[in-house]
Subunit: 292 residues, 2 copies
Amino acid sequence: MPVRPPRPSSPPLNALRAFEAAARLGGVTKAAEELCVTPGAVAQHIKALEDWAGARLFDRHAKGVTLNELGERSLPDFLAAFDQMNRAVQNLRMNAAPNSVRIATLPSLAQLWLSPRMPGLRAAFPQARISIAALEQPPNLAREGYDIAIFLEPKTSRGGLILAEDHILPVCAPALAKQVQQPADLAAMLWLKDSLWPDDWAMWVQKTQLALPNLPETVSYSLYSLALEEARNGAGILMGHDFLVQASLLDGSLVAPFNTPVSTGKVVKARLRDGDQRGLSPRLVRALAAAA
Amino acid sequence: MPVRPPRPSSPPLNALRAFEAAARLGGVTKAAEELCVTPGAVAQHIKALEDWAGARLFDRHAKGVTLNELGERSLPDFLAAFDQMNRAVQNLRMNAAPNSVRIATLPSLAQLWLSPRMPGLRAAFPQARISIAALEQPPNLAREGYDIAIFLEPKTSRGGLILAEDHILPVCAPALAKQVQQPADLAAMLWLKDSLWPDDWAMWVQKTQLALPNLPETVSYSLYSLALEEARNGAGILMGHDFLVQASLLDGSLVAPFNTPVSTGKVVKARLRDGDQRGLSPRLVRALAAAA
DNA sequence: TTCTAGACCTAGAAAAACTGAGCCTAGTAT
DNA sequence: ATACTAGGCTCAGTTTTTCTAGGTCTAGAA
């Protein structure tokens, strides 16, 4: 009759996850957002882990928590462990559904750049189940459930595949263009801008070395496609990104009063998840790059 | 107002753990034992994971499960992930309580070899909080909550620190020894043996090249210390392991009728957990080795 | 054929996690 | 100085998840 004493128990995995998230993001509240629970739940997990270990992992302050020495010492181990765990999960997802591809991209890119290309893509890869998620921030591909990320990055960033350069140029409805004969006329108009790219106008003005008599009124939109729609309706003049307004310029719903495009120093890049170098996603990305 | 769509959810960590255990141990029941739950619970976890992935991981047979191709492909990732996770947990435990040391060893070693040495050890390391667990099988030090494992291993095994050689030699109570003048007398006696080492007698008989007229009666004990106690009470003759009977030989409660010790080819080895090369445990092991 | 080991299934019970509301603290603004 | 605020903690009650018990099913062994 073999002796089988209860083995020393390990702490609950969910508590470890809560600790890792709070430590990585630097706060209980941020961790709670990532884990889609309330901060109280995360606090309880962390407390449970600290009770298990018999020692504190965080210093508590009125404005947030910081890792203490023990926490600081433990964090790298847990980061590595959860990295590996998520990699394993993503690989499993990919192997279990090799025809499903998830693309994460900016809302504007999703609607104005990717969407028009989807029919061609679906035709070229009829077996693929492609889904698109619009995110404002690029996801961590190793951890989150996306296979491809398409975002704006500095030209100088390493890796990834360039899909388009980012050039900006004012655009407006054809009717409005008549009022814009010379650059100085711009100052009299309503400037439309995307709240994600608040500095587009300043950059264009600076690089074209325009001297404007006074600052114009501006309106911000949280979605580029909204601003674009307004521009087409003649609401004002929009700072256009070439890869986003190309279609509208081609169909004539927008025109560019000046032919002075300016590079923002950024590019649209597609990145693949590590460990997904042989599947459907790389072929899909190559097709996108070729079509661009 | 930033768009924050719900990120694609990852599967429950506990389901991953159930899968990993079942795959590693080759069965739902074995995994359930390791996780201290019923097989049904493990089966449900695995099913949940398979539902999440949308694909099966195991082939089900009437007698057990086997990994299918997807499971086989995914297992190494999860083994690595849980290895790392457990390493992280053990490091946390060690760093949180650097004075606590957990030793895992055979029940017999715990009672007859380690226990007599503990007072000296506690005197040499007064700050140490040493706990001992008696296991029949050596634990996986990277995963389970032990810092030191002391077990019998083949002489040829790599690593670890040798604490004692394993020699065997029949021993009995002094009163009984009078009936054993020559080896052939052994056959008439009751042989006591530990059920963990059923072959001790055969090995000794073979190596000493004794020709016994007939096979004696034997009695098995599940604990060596029980057999030893019985031997001291004169119940029969016990195959003694030197490091276990030394104390009894010294205090005279047991004697060895023949001076023909035989090496079993094994040694008592202490092993340390990876990542615990600087703490209290290594010093403790060195002290044990020095005392031996 | 019956027996058995191992897995699966389901309903109900037990345990864990989560929420919501209130409290606390220490910077910051008034 | 006082009020405000952000961020975290705590507690009770609720929801959700997980677990168990007991039964069923299957295929290989006796």
